[in-house]
C-alpha cells in the first residue's frame, strides 16, 4: 500500500508530521506493509494535510486529515469520511496548466528515479546537445520573464552574462521569497527541488557559469533541508560536479541562508548579503549581469524563472510561448492567500481576470463576508477594489491600473479591513525593513507612519503630505522597497477614500 502525505511547510504547520506518525503506527498495528512517501503539496492548502492513496485507478485524495481520520485509510476507502475522489479529477487540479509545478506533489521529491519517470532531466539533456548561445536563444524565444516580480526578459539577462568575458561567472537563485502571500518558491523547493537544480545547471551551461548559489530564507527550514538533500542527490548522480552528465561542462551549487532581512530579496542587496556584507542595495549600473557576485558576471533569477527553464528546454520555446496573453507568455503560479475560502497554489496561463481568480477559483473569503480589497504582488503591490476585478492577470494590464503582479501573490481581505491601517502598515514595514541607503525610504517611511497617524487623528492637512511623500519615495529610492511602498499606500487612498475620511469627519 502506497500512501502520500506532504512534507510541505503548510501541511506540516497543519499537523502532517503527526498524521504521518499515526499512519505508520496504524499500519504496524494492523500488520499492513506500507510505503509512506512525503511528497510536496498539490497546492490545495485548505485540504492540508491531504493524504493520497495510490490505487489502480489513480491516486485518491483524503483531507483535511485529522488523527481520527487515519484508521479509516486502512478500511473501505470509498467510505472514508474525508474522501475527495481522484486527485487529478478535483476541480482545482483540472482547471490548471501545470508546467513549472507539473511534478510538485506528484513525485517523491528526492527520488531521481521518480524525477526522470516524470520527464525530469530531459531539458538538461537537450541543453547539453545544444550550443550555449542556442540555449540562451531558446529561453529568449520562450518569452519567459522574471517571475520574481520585475518581469525582465530572462533570455536577455542570460545573453548579457553569456557575452561577458570573465574568468568566473555565477548563477544566483533568488529564493528570498519575503513577500506576504507568496509561497511558490517554497513549495517548489520542498516539493520538486531537482527541477531547480536542473534549471540552474542549464543556466550555468548556457552562460558559462560553473558555480551556483541558492539564497533562501531562514524562515523556510524545510525548503533549506530539501534543497540541500536534492543537491546531494544530484551530485551523487553526476548531474552536478566537474562533468555534468558526463559532458565537458562543470557546474555545482550550494544553499545559502539569509537572516531575516526582507530587503535581501532585492537582487543587489542579495548579492551583498551573499558576499557576507550588510544587505544594502547597490546602485545600477553596473548591472549584476556584468558585475554581480564578487564583481563577476552573474545571472540573478527567481526560483520560478529558473524552475521554468527545464520544461522550456524539454518542450521547446514555442510550446511555452503559446500560453498566456499579450506580452505575458507562459504560465504563472498564482498564490492565493489571506482571508480566502480555497487558498493555495494555482498555476495557469496569464490572462484570467482578477475577479475570476478571487471569486471562481478562490471561492471568495473564508469568513463568508464580502471581499473588500485584494493586494496583488506582496507588500509592495497595490490594493485592488472589486471595481477593478475585470483586470486581466498580465504584467501590462496590472501596470496600466497602477498596480503590479509581482511574484503573483494575492492577499484577499474582507469588508472589515481598515485600509488606512493597511496603508500605515505598508509604511511601518518599509521603515522596519529599509536597508538605510536611500533617505526617502529610510526617513520617508518613518514620516509616512507619523503622517498617516495624523490622518487617523483627523488632521485634514496631512493627506496631501502623504501623496507628496509617496511621490518623493517613488522617484528617490534605488530599489523597489522605497520605490514601491507608495503602491499599497496610494492605492488604499485612491480606491478607499472613505477609510481615510471617516475619522476626520467624526472629528469635525
Amino acid at each position: 500500500m502506497k500512501i502520500y502525505l506532504p512534507l510541505d511547510s503548510a501541511a506540516v504547520a497543519l499537523g502532517a508530521d503527526e498524521i504521518a506518525e499515526a499512519i505508520t503506527a496504524e499500519a504496524q498495528k494492523r500488520g499492513v506493509s506500507i510505503t509512506l512517501i512525503r511528497n510536496g503539496s498539490r497546492g490545495m492548502v485548505w485540504l492540508e494535510p491531504m493524504a493520497e492513496v495510490a490505487t489502480e485507478d489513480g491516486r485518491l485524495a483524503f483531507g483535511p486529515m485529522t488523527l481520527e481520520d487515519v484508521p479509516a485509510l486502512f478500511d473501505d476507502l470509498a467510505a472514508h469520511p474525508k474522501a475527495l475522489g481522484l486527485t487529478d479529477e478535483l476541480d482545482w487540479m483540472r482547471r490548471q496548466t501545470r508546467l513549472t509545478f507539473a511534478r510538485c506533489g506528484v513525485i517523491d521529491p528526492l527520488s531521481l528515479h521518480d524525477y526522470e519517470l516524470h520527464h525530469g532531466l530531459k531539458g538538461l539533456k537537450r541543453a547539453l546537445a545544444m550550443a550555449p548561445a542556442a540555449i540562451v536563444q531558446e529561453v529568449t524565444d520562450s518569452g519567459l520573464r522574471g517571475r520574481g516580480g520585475a518581469g525582465f526578459p530572462t533570455g536577455i539577462k542570460w545573453k548579457t552574462v553569456h557575452d561577458a568575458k570573465a574568468s568566473q561567472k555565477y548563477i544566483v537563485c533568488n529564493a528570498d521569497e519575503g513577500d506576504s502571500a507568496t509561497f511558490a518558491d517554497r513549495m517548489l523547493m520542498e516539493g520538486d527541488p531537482l527541477t531547480l537544480v536542473e534549471g540552474m545547471a542549464i543556466a550555468g551551461i548556457a552562460v558559462g557559469a560553473t558555480k551556483g548559489y541558492i539564497y533562501t530564507r531562514s524562515e523556510y527550514p524545510i525548503a533549506i533541508t530539501q534543497m540541500q538533500k536534492a543537491i546531494q542527490v544530484a551530485r551523487a548522480a553526476g548531474i552536478l560536479g566537474p562533468r555534468v552528465l558526463d559532458s565537458d561542462y562543470a557546474f555545482d551549487m550550494e544553499v545559502r541562508v539569509g537572516a531575516g532581512a526582507y530587503v535581501c530579496g532585492e537582487e543587489t542587496s542579495l548579492l551583498n548579503s551573499l558576499e557576507g556584507k550588510r544587505g544594502v542595495v547597490r546602485a545600477k549600473p553596473p548591472l549584476p549581469a556584468l558585475q554581480g557576485f564578487m564583481g563577476k558576471p552573474t545571472v540573478v533569477n527567481n526560483v520560478i524563472s529558473l524552475a521554468s527553464v527545464p520544461v522550456i528546454l524539454e518542450r521547446g520555446a514555442a510550446f511555452y510561448k503559446n500560453f498566456g496573453m499579450g506580452r505575458s507568455h507562459g504560465t504563472m503560479a498564482l498564490q492565493i492567500a489571506g482571508n480566502v475560502k480555497f487558498g493555495g497554489l494555482f498555476e495557469t496561463a496569464f490572462g484570467l481576470s482578477l475577479g475570476e481568480i478571487v471569486n471562481e477559483i478562490a471561492g471568495g473569503t473564508a469568513s463568508g463576508r464580502p471581499v473588500k480589497a485584494v493586494q496583488v504582488g506582496g507588500p509592495l503591490g497595490a490594493w485592488f477594489p472589486t471595481s477593478l476585478f475585470d483586470t486581466p492577470f498580465t504584467y501590462e494590464d496590472f501596470a496600466a491600473k497602477d498596480g503590479l503582479i509581482g511574484h503573483a501573490g494575492l492577499t484577499i481581505a474582507d469588508d472589515r479591513t481598515d485600509m488606512l491601517k493597511m496603508a500605515r502598515f505598508a509604511m511601518e514595514f518599509c521603515a522596519i525593513e529599509s536597508c538605510g541607503k536611500c533617505t526617502p525610504c529610510r526617513i520617508g517611511a518613518v514620516r509616512g507612519v507619523e503622517t498617516l497617524d495624523r490622518v487617523a487623528a483627523g488632521d485634514p492637512s496631512a493627506l496631501p503630505l502623504v501623496a507628496d511623500l509617496c511621490n518623493t519615495m517613488k522617484s528617490g529610492s534605488l530599489c523597489a522597497l522605497g520605490g514601491f511602498t507608495p503602491y499599497p499606500v496610494m492605492s488604499a487612498l485612491t480606491h478607499f477614500p472613505d477609510d481615510f475620511a471617516t475619522t476626520r469627519a467624526a472629528a469635525e
Binding site: 504547520a13 506576504s180 539569509g258 489571506g338 482571508n339 473564508a366
Partner: protein, 159 residues
C-alpha cells in the same frame, strides 16, 4: 533580559572550530554568524573581534553585518522563542488580535523575554504559510491557523 554568559576558553575553542569549518568559503560571514548563533544561542560580543580578525575585516564591519540582520541576537533568548507573523495575509485572518492576545498573556511586547526567561516574543514577516494563517513558529516548529486557544496551549507547554 537574560544575562549574557561568559564566553570563556571553551567558547573560543568552539568559535575556532566554526571558523575552520568555513575557511575558503566565498562570503563566509553570514554562514559563520548562523553557526555561532546555533552553537551559543546568540552571537556573543566577544566573538566578533575574533571573527573579524579571521576574515580580515574590521570589527566595525563585523558588528555592522551582525546588527543589520533581524535573526542575529546579542543576548540569549528565552527557552521558547515564539515568532508570530505580522504580514498582510496573516493580518487578514486576525494576526493583530492574536498578537495582542499573546502580548497580554505574556505581559511583554515584541522583542522582549518574560522575566522568568521562559518565552521570547518576536515578530516575523512571512513564513510562507499565507493560505493557512495566522502563522507562527515555535522554536523552529511551524504552526498554521493559530488561534488564541492554540496559542494558549503552546504557551502552557513553554512554562
Amino acid at each position: 533580559m537574560s544575562a549574557t554568559p561568559e564566553f570563556g576558553d571553551a567558547g573560543l575553542e568552539t568559535l575556532h572550530e566554526i571558523l575552520n569549518a568555513h575557511r575558503g568559503m566565498e562570503g563566509a560571514l553570514l554562514p559563520i554568524l548562523h553557526a555561532v548563533q546555533e552553537a551559543f544561542g546568540h552571537v556573543p560580543q566577544e566573538a566578533l573581534p575574533v571573527i573579524a580578525k579571521d576574515l580580515n575585516i574590521t570589527r566595525a564591519e563585523a558588528h555592522g553585518v551582525m546588527s543589520f540582520y533581524h535573526d542575529f541576537r546579542e543576548n540569549p533568548a528565552g527557552r521558547t522563542v515564539l515568532k508570530l507573523c505580522r504580514a498582510e495575509a496573516c493580518q487578514s485572518v486576525g494576526a493583530d488580535a492574536l498578537a495582542d492576545h499573546a502580548r497580554g498573556k505574556l505581559g511583554i511586547d515584541w522583542h522582549e523575554t518574560t522575566a522568568d526567561g521562559a518565552v521570547t516574543l518576536e515578530p516575523i514577516f512571512c513564513l510562507g504559510l499565507c493560505a493557512c494563517g495566522p502563522a507562527a513558529m515555535v522554536n523552529g516548529k511551524l504552526v498554521g491557523r493559530t488561534d488564541a486557544a492554540k496559542l494558549d496551549r503552546i504557551l502552557e507547554g513553554a512554562r
